[in-house]
């Protein structure tokens, strides 16, 4: 039992190693969400505003990609980044950057699909107005994205939730290296495999608290923004 007590104590006292793990988890997942937003929002807006043959198929495909299995993405990124793979010369495997790449691939379809839906709904509402004002395609995208910005926060949070919760992809491409690529989820997997269930549960509670904190922060920012925007 003394081991269990010290394990819980470690979690509660917030030691340096735990802090580093939390920081890396946030760094990887937030970077992935940011990159995925840079890809997903423009792509979602493009899909919302244009009509082309096969568009329905692209939308169905995009929605399906929201369910990409992390372990499959991890394996694909692993094979691509391996020294024997096509991108091997960059030496990215088993680094935090490999983890960001894998999570970006997981998160981008979620943000793109949700952004597409949000912007398309708004487009139906604004269509006549924007057409009458004779605004070009880029201006339309900018106007709609700006007007949908508060709803798009939810899309970003959905993406963040996906990134912060997954373990399958980052444990393959990151290697769960202590002090370098170990995140909250991979640490939980490791402690479970060591049979240290109290520490695993403690880490799990810390992870849930962090996800709640990020969501609360985003919610507060959104409320403040809405008030400020009137």
């Amino acid at each position: 039992m003394p081991d269990d007590v010290s394990a819980l104590h470690l979690v509660l006292s917030g030691d340096a190693a735990l802090f580093a793990i939390v920081r890396l988890s946030l760094y990887v997942s937030l970077s992935a969400v940011l990159l995925a937003a840079m890809i997903g929002i423009p792509f979602g807006a493009f899909l919302a505003l244009t009509r082309f043959p096969g568009r329905q198929g692209v939308i169905v495909g995009l929605n399906a990609l929201m369910g990409l299995p992390p372990v499959v993405v991890g394996l694909a990124v692993y094979l691509a980044l391996s020294r024997s793979g096509p991108l091997g010369s960059f030496g990215l495997l088993f680094t935090p950057r490999a983890m960001i790449i894998a999570q970006t691939i997981l998160v981008a379809p979620i943000i793109a699909a949700l952004a597409r839906q949000t912007i398309e709904d708004l487009w139906i509402e604004y269509r006549d107005e924007l057409t009458a004002m004779n605004i070009g395609p880029l201006g339309r995208v900018a106007t709609l994205v700006w007007d949908a910005r508060f709803s798009l926060v939810t899309a970003l949070l959905a993406g963040f939730g996906r990134a912060a919760a997954e373990v399958g992809a980052i444990i393959i491409v990151g290697g769960n290296i202590e002090g370098f690529t170990r995140t909250m989820t991979t640490a939980i997997a490791l402690e479970t495999s060591k049979g240290d269930l109290p520490l695993a549960v403690g880490l799990g509670m810390v992870l849930i608290a962090i996800v709640i904190a990020v969501n609360a922060l985003a919610w507060t920012a959104r409320r403040a923004g809405e008030r400020w925007a009137g």
Partner: protein, 276 residues
């Protein structure tokens, strides 16, 4: 807000593009090793000593022996530190490694439930125990992941005269996971499982499990270390990697012997035994 977003964007892009050059200059090597060396806490004990001595940071990716050798074969590690001699020699024969050095040994143990349905508790004969488990159809958890422990287990079935691929029944469950996960499963299912002593000693979720069979010479578990061949993979950091190997088989031997969990020594250094 815009300013902040722009700065964040720049920071992320900068890390993604330029982060590599910084890590290339830092003294570090990547070692592909097994779950048993990590889960037992050995690396946590010896790596800080090596770093203090040489300034080289050792990053360990803990996988099963089969996967660790594959990682090294692809050129994704500098050093490979595993425990399955036949597989290691095949790796060397393929030209993927430079030279194999014996480092240390511990032993495997057969762990089982206190109720002992196969009636083998206290035996020193591993093959007789396996025959009894099969005869009684007592639940048995197999790693099933091509790890060193899995390969040792398959070899023991063969020594017991049992063709496990043909004779396995519903009592034989292959879980395809690491040592800790196999112990967790055995603990939950009250089943027998072959484990390395190091992981067992530091394993915390034992439940009703206890050691059923130990002390058979055939349960010997040798660890070896190899530098990945820089001629196959020029990215291998051969100087730092060789420094780590040289330390493991000299000064590191003492550090390995000193590592204890609850007063019990987990690994026995034997770099001097050239036949190991």
């Amino acid at each position: 807000m815009k300013m902040l977003t722009r700065r964040l964007l720049m920071a992320v892009t900068a890390t993604l593009v330029f982060g590599g050059s910084a890590s290339a200059q830092e003294k570090s090597i990547l070692v592909a090793s097994t779950t048993s060396t990590q889960d037992s806490g050995l690396f946590g004990h010896i790596l800080p000593m090596f770093k203090a001595r040489t300034g080289i940071d050792v990053k360990v990716v803990a996988q099963g022996t089969g996967q660790a050798l594959d990682t090294a074969r692809r050129g994704d590690a500098d050093v490979v530190f595993v425990h399955a001699r036949a597989a290691e020699e095949k790796f060397l024969a393929g030209g993927f490694g430079v030279k194999r050095y014996p480092v240390m040994y511990n032993d495997f143990i057969l762990v089982g439930p206190k109720g002992d349905p196969a009636g083998i508790k206290g035996s020193k004969d591993i093959t007789a125990a396996l025959v009894a488990i099969k005869a009684k159809g007592a639940d048995f958890i197999s790693r099933g992941d091509k790890s060193g422990t899995h390969q040792a287990e398959l070899n023991l079935w063969k020594l017991a005269g049992i063709d496990i691929a043909r004779d396995k029944g519903p009592w034989y469950k292959e879980i395809g996971q690491g040592m800790g996960a196999a112990l967790n499963t055995a603990s939950a299912a009250n089943a027998y499982v072959l484990a390395d002593r190091g992981t067992w000693l530091s394993f915390k979720n034992r439940g009703e499990l206890m050691i059923a069979v130990e002390g058979d010479k055939r349960l010997f578990n040798q660890y070896g270390v190899m530098l990945v061949n820089p001629e196959k993979h020029p990215s291998v950091k051969k100087d730092f990697g060789q420094q780590f190997i040289d330390w493991l088989v000299s000064e590191g031997q003492r550090a390995i012997a000193d590592y204890k969990v609850n007063g019990e020594q987990l690994f026995y250094p034997n770099a001097g035994d050239s036949g190991a």
